[in-house]
């Protein structure tokens, strides 16, 4: 009996799928570049204490607003210069990579888990359960995302953890909608019926039988949400509602740098560039994933 419900691919099958996926993914040059940049960022974040020349919070009182080394008055020991209280910008950027990747991972995990569960329940049970869940999602989507996140942070109190919770709640309806749509499309297919006839319980049907077949759009949405989370967290930090100083978070660094924009361009330029590069790399990967996972595009 259990053999009928066993739909998970075997080892060699997984390998073949992965090879096929890589074949299509690697055709997209931008996606490969994005992936390399992203992996580099992961390494930078992982080895931040080894790579950073200074402590990210150490204030060098005799080196305030030192320009980058190639500018006049630059100091080679502070490659990208220092900020208004004499902290090394490069070191803060390196440690900031940890914050951003951490934010992305946590937000996507919360949003993905919540969205999948709600979407599965709504799609699987239908009826009033579906109606209630989806109307709540509509309400969340009716607010401009950043505004809702801001208000939630006002309720929960400023800080990185609360900002992450707020962003996850705002991003979560997208996952719920996608999962629900996929479940509705899959639940009347024959293999689901076969599993049901074979005696699979509701939980097993939802999570083991149906869910694996809905993963492709969720993976793509997950990447997009990762970059959105990095952007929104930086925006909240910039508005003073995210990570609090002296945390080396890129958005918070920009907020602290605002008053110096016309005097010291480097304190503003580099943190923003770091955000842009990170988000761009993830979006490139997301585009590549979408092309590689979308069977309609594959055939064309």
């Amino acid at each position: 009996m259990t053999d009928v419900t066993k739909s998970a691919p075997q080892g060699s099958e997984t390998k073949r799928l992965l090879r096929e996926f890589w074949f299509y993914f690697s055709e997209n040059r931008g996606a490969v570049i994005g992936l390399c940049v992203f992996l580099a960022l992961v390494l930078i974040a992982a080895f931040a204490p080894l790579l950073a020349p200074h402590s990210p919070t150490l204030q060098n009182r005799d080196a305030l607003l030192v320009p980058p080394f190639w500018e006049q008055g630059g100091n080679p020991s502070f490659l990208l210069g220092t900020d208004a209280v004499g902290r090394d910008i490069l070191s803060r950027l390196i440690f900031g990579a940890r914050q951003s990747l951490f934010i992305g991972c946590v937000v996507v995990s919360i949003a993905l888990t919540g969205g999948i569960i709600l979407g599965l329940v709504a799609g699987f049970f239908g009826g009033w359960v579906d109606a209630v869940i989806m109307r709540v999602m509509d309400v969340i989507l009716a607010f401009p995302s950043l505004l809702l996140a801001l208000v939630m942070v006002a309720i929960l109190g400023p800080g990185l953890t609360n900002a992450m919770i707020a962003i996850a709640i705002v991003l979560q309806p997208h996952f719920a909608r996608l999962t629900r749509a996929a479940v509705m499309a899959e639940k009347n297919r024959e293999y689901v019926m076969a599993a049901r006839v074979a005696g699979a319980g509701r939980l097993r049907l939802m999570f083991r039988t149906i869910l694996p077949n809905c993963l492709a759009p969720l993976i793509v949405q997950g990447t997009l949400s990762f970059s959105n989370a990095v952007l929104d967290a930086a925006a909240l930090g910039f508005l003073g509602m995210g990570a609090q100083p002296p945390t080396p978070e890129w958005g918070t660094m920009l907020a602290e740098a605002r008053e110096f924009i016309l005097r010291a361009w480097w304190v503003v330029t580099f943190p923003g560039l770091a955000i842009l590069i990170t988000v761009l790399a993830i979006n490139l990967v997301g585009d590549g994933l979408r092309d590689a996972l979308d069977p309609k595009l594959k055939r064309s």
Partner: protein, 335 residues
Amino acid sequence: MIRFLLGKLAYLIPTFLGITIVAFGFVRLLPGDPVLLMAGERGITPERHAELSAQLGFDRPIWVQYLDFLGNLFQGDFGLSLTTKKPVLTEFLTLFPATVELGLVAVTLATLIGIPLGVFAAIKRGSWFDQISMGTALVGYSMPIFWWGLLLIIFFSGILKWTPVSGRIDLLYFFPNGTGFMLWDSLVSGQKGAFLSAVRHLILPAIVLATIPMAVIARQSRSAMLEVLGEDYVRTARAKGMSPFRVISVHALRNALIPVVTTIGLQVGVVMAGAILTETIFSWPGIGKWMIDSISRRDYPSVQGGLLLMAGVVMLVNLIVDLLYGVINPRIRHS
């Protein structure tokens, strides 16, 4: 059409009620005593507390409070701002034209640049133009706009000194009976240099706010155009011997633009969220900046009203876009 509209409304009413519940619940979820928060007072005697509580209606059951809240909303009563003691709705309506003006210019800019960019990229698929424009669009899509705004200020205001750093118009100009739309007011006032001043103030915030919608519209236009170019009717038009220009402008473009209209409409939410950041950077006196200021001043009646009104505006625009979509898409109109 009527049935289509009624069907939409059946969806919108529960969503709208949900929004009011969020705005109503917001104040009650805030840490601290909601009576003190909404009255903007602290350290008061128990008698004064009871008086305020009765005045604001906090002494009644929660569902009565909600129904009252809802009733007041329908009479246009959103409460009083704690900072100015003026009705929140008046505050909102005074500042709203500034945001509408900025948003309209931004969306227009995004559409006028985004659509041609995407359409040409699709026609010249795989060319250097396609690669560069889509690369630029992806950079725009990934842009932290608050940083982009600061960079533009450094370059155009700091180095070139072409544009002012903040505000909507130079202080020497004043329009006593203005509409609140600075471009229009300055144009009809006839005051020398006023219009130019308004444009110079508007241009950088508009570019910043247009960046993400422009990228989204360009990408969407390209994929919509590519899809349409592969359709049978385009092949038929080509086979009939029509000029490539006619095939593209008459047969392909008109059909490709249908989904793009929806995309443009959906950008209103994006623009509202973007306005919060853009207006903060450029000290643009619109509702985005007002919301941020209200949050930091703990002016909770304003935050509550603003939350509700902004969500209401987004919903309303989305409804209009849905209706427009029904009008321009024959498949929906005739079904």
